[in-house]
């Protein structure tokens, strides 16, 4: 476990293989919710929280349940169940503890269950930090850290996009391109710009 690995994970997850702009995970929510900054921020924080927690939980499930009992083919089912259950739990807790917080981003929580980013990162962690059924040293920390970085990358893309789209409300965009098509084109240019970090070596 070395700091270089962490730095590489950070640069990859946030810039080079940005979860939205490069891996396209969470694209649906990105295009739909990045129109204004407040909802974008709310969604990003909720997503970050869910991703980090589910990265941790799914790691445990894989390491201590699926792997030892040779049930790795149940990965998809068990992971999505974990995520769905966790999100449901979080929703119930928030609703009970703080109705205000629930109103702020309770509506986004059920959407996060089907956010490709959450399941995607969980699966990615397994693919990257378990090799041939063996656990890599420090794999848990790498997995959770990758979850954090993916959340950061998601937030970065969301914030940049929402700022831009809010600005564009004042411009006369060609009618055929309004909303979705332009959002994709902007994402395309963002993706091109982020390519500047390709080949990053620390």
């Amino acid at each position: 476990m070395n700091i270089q690995e962490f730095l590489t994970i950070f640069i990859s997850a946030v810039f080079v293989y940005n979860v939205i702009l490069s891996r396209f995970l969470g694209l649906c929510s990105f295009i739909a919710i990045s129109k204004e900054t407040k909802p974008a921020l709310a969604m990003s924080s909720a997503v970050m929280f869910v991703i980090v927690m589910s990265s941790a939980i799914t790691w445990f499930v894989y390491r201590f349940l699926l792997l030892p009992f040779n049930l790795t083919y149940l990965r998809t089912i068990s992971f999505i169940l974990v995520i769905a259950t966790f999100v449901q739990l979080v929703e119930m807790v928030i609703r009970k503890l703080s109705p205000q917080l629930y109103r702020a981003f309770g509506i986004y929580l059920p959407l996060i269950t089907v956010n490709c980013a959450v399941l995607g990162v969980a699966v990615l962690n397994i693919d990257m930090f378990f090799v041939n059924g063996k656990v890599l040293v420090g794999s848990f920390y790498y997995s959770v850290f990758q979850g954090v970085c993916v959340g950061l990358g998601y937030t970065l893309a969301m914030l940049l996009m929402s700022g831009i789209r809010e600005r564009l409300e004042l411009c006369n965009v060609p009618k055929a391109l309004k909303d979705f098509p332009l959002a994709f084109i902007i994402a395309s240019i963002l993706s091109l710009s982020f390519m500047g970090f390709n080949g990053f070596k620390v």
Binding site: Y73, I80, A84, V114, C116, V123, A176, F180, P181, I189
Partner: protein, 197 residues
């Protein structure tokens, strides 16, 4: 019978999941690098759609309202696992190139969306044709996008070079090109729709 045919055809153009409903975009863009990938993913997704639509429609009266989403997810996940294992066994190369996007069919908005919007409210026959139509529509959209990207990005389609001496435009094989293609296609369809009205 005519009604059933309508359920099928609506998924192809009028309610095309990719271009009209804007669902399932994550795998669409990621997978559309080559037409081969597109066809593979399309078949897998259609299989999952069909299976889950059928089963969900079958048991729709027995699932309690409150836990219906997790139930749907389990059913869908089962079919995805079946698809995953079959792919790993019979075409490991395809499995490798599709990567994490195969298990991600579980959270493909199209599948869950159709379950929630249609299969739980309609009988088996209609659900079957709806699932089939959506799956075919999705596959066709995938093929269109990947044909454009593969041709512009590498000068070939399915491995066959089409135009001699064509300088490939590499950006179309990259994420940025994918986003550009779908942005422009959506814009084009908007334009055509606007003209019709």
């Amino acid at each position: 019978m005519r009604n059933l045919i309508k359920e099928f055809t609506k998924g192809i153009i009028k309610e095309n999941p990719t271009f009209v409903l804007a669902l399932g975009l994550c795998p669409t863009l990621a997978v559309s690098v080559s037409v081969a990938n597109a066809i593979g993913m399309g078949i897998a997704a259609t299989f999952v759609l069909l299976g889950s639509s059928l089963i969900i429609s079958l048991v729709r009266d027995f699932i309690p309202e409150k836990i219906r989403i997790p139930c749907y997810i389990v059913i869908i996940a089962t079919f995805v696992t079946i698809a995953e294992l079959c792919m790993k066994a019979y075409s490991p190369a395809l499995d490798r190139s599709l990567g994490i996007y195969v298990p991600l069919i579980v959270v493909n908005c199209i599948v869950l969306g159709r379950a929630e919007a249609f299969a739980c409210k309609n009988n088996i026959a209609r659900s079957f044709f709806d699932g089939l139509g959506m799956g075919v529509g999705f596959t066709l959209a995938l093929i269109l996008i990947s044909a454009i990207r593969e041709f512009l990005g590498s000068g070939q389609i399915l491995g066959y070079a089409l135009v001699k001496g064509f300088e490939p435009i590499f950006v179309f094989g990259m994420p940025s090109g994918a986003l550009l293609v779908i942005g422009l296609l959506l814009g084009l369809f908007n334009l055509l729709k606007g003209r019709k009205v």
